[in-house]
């Protein structure tokens, strides 16, 4: 019963979030601000994680596919595919669920317990839309760019580890990266990232918006937001993967 109640409340909140904004220019400004705070400020962590992911992927491929029957170009190819299909979208989304999701839930939750949301309501502002919609739009625009960044930086990580360890010849790695490239893989990764952006922002916004009580509750809302977002991201990964290969 509890889960249906939560889903019902979530759907009602999304109805409020996507109702017509009061003043479009105010929302436009907020979208730009949110792009900076949720997107631009995540570039560092995404780059850092991606460079190591790319390097580790390349190493694992080389170590575990050590066979005379497997061409060495496939190491670069496999690194690229895994990076594009899963790591740059799903793993980066999980990282962002931690960073961005907790920040959104705690920001909105704090606004709730300090009556800032009540103040917006009293003024006649649709608080759900004002607070959550710009974040959703900003992340749905910016997160796919982070996915592209993650792919590029990840492949650079693979390049660097290849160069440093000499585990395969660098030209072989580059040849592998160029092998059988399908643009669909990148489009698929971007679509996934757009879906994940919506999941992270809307779920975190939901838990923050309905936070009650004191700072402990805000902390709990923040934790719930991260856990639920992560689980839903993994579930949606399965669904989207299944759909895309039908």
């Amino acid at each position: 019963m509890g889960i249906f109640n939560v889903i019902g409340k979530y759907v009602v909140l999304m109805g409020k979030v996507f109702s017509r904004p009061e003043h479009v220019s105010v929302y436009r400004r907020r979208v730009l601000d949110e792009m900076e705070s949720l997107g631009l400020n995540s570039i560092g962590i995404v780059s850092l994680v991606s460079v190591f992911m790319g390097a580790v992927l390349m190493l694992q491929m080389c170590i575990n596919f050590e066979s005379p029957f497997i061409p060495r170009e496939l190491m670069g190819y496999a690194t690229r595919e895994v990076m594009i299909l899963e790591f740059s979208s799903t793993v980066v989304a999980l990282i962002l669920a931690g960073r961005v999701g907790s920040s959104i839930a705690s920001e909105i939750g704090t606004m709730r317990i300090t009556e800032q949301i009540d103040a917006l309501e009293i003024m006649g502002v649709n608080s759900a839309s004002y607070l959550i919609l710009p974040k959703i739009i900003a992340t749905m625009i910016f997160f796919p760019l982070l996915a592209v960044l993650s792919i590029i930086v990840g492949l650079i990580g693979g390049y660097v580890i290849t160069l440093v360890t000499g585990i395969v010849i660098i030209d072989t790695y580059i040849e592998g990266l160029q092998m059988d490239f399908k643009i669909f893989s990148v489009v698929y990764a971007l679509i996934k990232m757009i879906v994940y952006a919506f999941i992270i922002t809307s779920i975190s916004g939901f838990y923050g918006y309905y936070a009650r009580g004191n700072s402990l509750e805000v902390g709990r809302a923040s934790t719930k937001a991260v856990v639920v977002s992560s689980v839903v991201i993994l579930m949606m990964d399965l669904v989207i993967t299944q759909i895309s290969y039908l």
Binding site: E22, H23, V26, M111, T114, Q116, D118, E121, I122, G124
Partner: protein
């Protein structure tokens, strides 16, 4: 004028407001007083529409507020200003942006007009020059004054103040009280102040509604507050040592008149 009729409100089966009826007059400081946990905040939030009532009606003038849907309420809310206990300023905006916020959202005024109005409101609360500060940089008194400036920026017809003096020293409290009083008289606003601060009641209270355990125990003018024949009200009003001392002096004829004359 705001009129409440038979307001009831419960949370998780616990009845917080029980059949409360009261009338709040325009151009006057209407005060809801009572002990902590008596239901004052819930009542003012019901009147403001932040909580939906379980039963009863609330009228803004002749409009039955409780029967309106979200969109219809929006129109009335443009006429409402509210000062929250903690100020409830938007943390991410400067003082100036906070005060300008309702103008940005609901008017088509030019930036110059909005700036002029914001400057006027900040001057009105003696905060000219503080426009560029963020809420985190303000003292408690300044926060409340910014909240007042934001509440009056749209020229409201109704002003709700939820414990406007909480956490303030007596001198700053008086400044805030005086501001609320002056603004109410200047614009003929229907002001409802929710407080348990007897200094405020003595300072600016005109019409008083006393709430005890979710019930309206007493309603009357501040002039009659100290002579009321209600045990719960007397316990509340004369709870402080100072009040007891002054009452004893008054009973002994050492001071004449009621407390309200001391204003």
């Amino acid at each position: 004028m705001i009129r409440c009729e038979h307001i009831c409100k419960s949370f998780d089966g616990k009845q917080v407001l029980k059949d409360i009826s009261a009338e709040f007059l325009p151009g006057e400081i209407n005060m809801i007083i009572g002990r902590s946990g008596s239901g004052k905040t819930v009542l003012i939030k019901c009147i403001a529409g932040l909580f939906n009532v379980d039963g009863g009606e609330i009228y803004y003038g002749d409009t039955l507020f409780t029967s309106l849907d979200f969109k219809q309420r929006k129109a009335i809310r443009r006429d409402v200003g509210m000062i929250f206990q903690g100020g409830a300023l938007l943390d991410s905006l400067t003082v100036e942006d906070n005060v300008r916020f309702p103008l940005d959202m609901f008017t088509e005024q030019s930036m110059a007009e909005k700036r002029e109005r914001v400057e006027f409101c900040l001057r009105r609360v003696n905060l000219d020059g503080a426009g560029k500060l963020y809420p985190a940089e303000l003292s408690g008194g300044m926060t409340k004054r910014v909240a007042i400036a934001r509440a009056i920026v749209m020229n409201p017809r109704y002003l709700f103040c939820d414990e406007p003096n909480s956490g303030l020293d007596p001198v700053t409290s008086n400044v805030i009280d005086r501001l609320i009083y002056d603004i109410t008289k200047e614009y003929g606003i229907t002001t409802i102040v929710n407080t348990h601060d007897m200094n405020s009641v003595m300072e600016i209270g005109e019409k008083i509604v006393f709430i005890n355990n979710g019930c309206k125990e007493w309603e009357g003018s501040s002039a009659n507050l100290f002579t009321a024949d209600n045990e719960a009200l007397n316990d509340f009003v004369f709870a402080s040592s100072m009040a007891k001392t002054v009452k004893a002096a008054s009973d002994n004829g050492h001071i004449s008149g009621n407390w309200n004359n001391m204003r």
